[in-house]
Symmetry: C2
Subunit: 386 residues, 2 copies
């Protein structure tokens, strides 16, 4: 009696979560230390100490701090974020351009709810975070996947251009990218802006650039993530504190809409409206206050760099191929077998190593390994694979 579309989707499954659940099972059997679970982007590096200090402080104030506020969030927090994004992007946002959200996943859903008429299309270039498909489908849209550019997994603006139709309402970019760790250069993004602008003229449409930026601060070797509002005229930033403050389970993030966007006023009203309509209602209250104290804090990125370097070195010694991740905390590697599930099931799982098949990101023949886990887990995985 459950809905047919849910039945179908559940059968298709989520490779990431399936592996996560499989890992939980294996750990029960073999014990934590014997299972090398590289599946989930669940930050192992703890929140900066200021986060828990702020939580304790706010709680001990004894005020009634847990009630509703405006759906968009507390005005002072939105103003704070508007100010930071203004400085980063060189545009002028006010609190009105910012809606606090239930994580980036909540933010993306609010944006698509606000934008999409039935049958409108959202582009993304593979490999991509598989849940985007659901987030677009939830609101009657259609996710169009542009094939990956191998082997470097950069964006390919010209190829993307050939997929744009009069139905294209938005394109998702995600840099640093999950699952490849690739950071798109300013040059590449400017080329994409040029293609988008040409296509907007050709079709008489507006194409929004939805920039999913949860990994923005998780970058290595001095790489910088170009600010999208400085490059794209129709830029919408969806941000989450899941990674930068290690708050993945607390569901706190925001949507920031560029003042240069087409129909900006309606859009700035539609996103908080969508938050209410979709039952998120508002971003968790306490963690909005925590941002007031901790907006300048950041998790220990160097700890991820150490883990990355151990994993890269180990995998390279074993002869695996992948583009060097400049950010995020994943390596997207080619599997020795064409069918990556064959490799995962017959080679990795029997050695208690868990990874996510590339088809979960629209790229069969690859697999994703996450290094946001303990060093021992990474070392154990390499030893097991050797």
């Amino acid at each position: 009696m459950i809905a047919n579309h849910i039945k179908t989707k559940m059968q298709a499954g989520s490779w990431i979560r399936d592996m996560f659940e499989k890992g939980t099972e294996l750990k029960k059997i073999y014990g934590d230390g014997k299972v090398f679970d590289l599946t989930l982007g669940n930050p192992d590096v703890p929140s900066p100490k200021e986060v828990n200090e702020s939580i304790a402080k706010r709680a001990s104030m004894g005020d009634n701090i847990h009630g509703y506020m405006s759906n968009a969030g507390y005005p002072e927090i939105r103003a704070l974020i508007a100010d930071r994004e203004s400085k980063r992007n060189g545009v002028n946002l006010t609190a009105n351009n910012v809606t606090m959200c239930v994580g980036a996943a909540g933010g993306l859903n609010c944006v698509f709810k606000a934008l999409l008429n039935p049958g409108e299309e959202v582009l993304v270039q593979a490999p991509y975070f598989v849940q985007y498909g659901g987030y677009v489908d939830n609101h009657g849209g259609k996710l169009i996947v542009v094939p990956a550019k191998v082997p470097d997994f950069d964006l390919d603006p010209n190829l993307i251009g050939t997929y744009i139709t009069e139905k294209t309402k938005a394109i998702i970019i995600n840099s640093p990218n999950n699952p490849t760790g690739v950071v798109y250069s300013r040059e590449t993004l400017e080329k994409l802006e040029k293609v988008l602008t040409e296509k907007e003229k050709e079709f008489g449409t507006d194409i929004y650039v939805v920039s999913d930026e949860p990994y923005r601060e998780i970058v290595y070797d001095g790489v910088e993530v170009p600010p999208v509002m400085d490059i794209f005229h129709n830029a919408i930033i969806v941000y989450s504190y899941s990674k930068s403050l290690s708050l993945a389970g607390e569901r706190i993030g925001y949507v920031a809409i560029s003042p240069n966007c087409a129909d900006v006023e309606a859009l700035c009203a539609a996103v908080p409206f969508a938050t209410r309509e979709l039952g998120y209602t508002n971003a968790p209250a306490l963690f909005q206050y925590v941002l007031k104290d901790c907006v300048d804090c950041q998790t220990d990125v160097d700890a991820y760099k150490v883990r990355r370097d151990i994993l890269m070195k180990g995998l390279r010694e074993l002869g695996y191929e992948f583009p060097e991740p400049q950010g995020a905390f994943y390596i997207f590697m080619k599997t020795p077998t064409e069918d990556e599930n064959e490799f995962i099931n017959n080679y990795c799982l029997p050695r208690n190593v868990l990874a996510v098949p590339g088809r979960g990101f629209g790229c069969p023949g690859y697999m994703r390994v996450a290094y946001c886990v303990a060093e021992e887990t990474i070392k154990g995985a390499i030893k097991a694979l050797r």
Copy 2:
């Protein structure tokens, strides 16, 4: 360029939130003490002190407590809730029957996502919480509103029966009711179960009873809210700690599915799947831990009773008519003018009294006043109306 359906809905507006925003504006002009805002169900009575103690304690442990867990929530919290609902309802739930959710609003959306095929119908009897319409519509369903039973606003099982078709997938009940405060008796609910069972046989369908219970503990004068799983074979409870622990802004609640439900196994898997698919991902992590410490705590219901009694007395002295609320924290009163907006706009607003028009709940000619506000606000409102 925003979606047409959103544009239309935004123009129609939400009467509750519109009034909330209007109240915020008036308070800026006249100051807090001069505006008598009876619009929003935002608990004024603070959380039990154990809640903030638990938050502070958990934060000071310094563990990495803010990460992802299984989409359905921490197993031990789900088991705890299963145990409580089992005792309350006289059925045998396990952790598997419980999914932690982003408030009851999130829970309702997950349930409808899991249940509804396009065009399937969900019944509700007026007056009802207006967001139900959006929550059903989000997932391709159609909310069918059964007219109110005046003047007592009880459920009318026979009338409901005449609205059931082969497309009816669910019925929402909400007791204590928002906006009337009415608690449905066991006798009424048993009559409804009889009607539903007959109609299920007639059409060869299953009709789920979605019981939205955020006000379950907010009851007065020893009234008891009958446990729905003891009455309905297809019962799904959607609960929130918004009111019982005054955590409305923190978005923490759950869905509990009766083991007697049709297709129970698929449904118990579909709700956590929907949580992920809809971008809620999981209920906020910290507040799941807080429940471990505070699941037996409760906000000060007597404080609401005092407020209710002051408001009832005051309104009755002024000659207004309404059913005495047995629970929740609202009074749903007949307005002296047939068009309640005339009364609100020409009589209440000029006196800085804010209330929600009954049409916001499917009942024109009435208005909702909330008494989850300070006593001074209630007294001030009565004085202003006098």
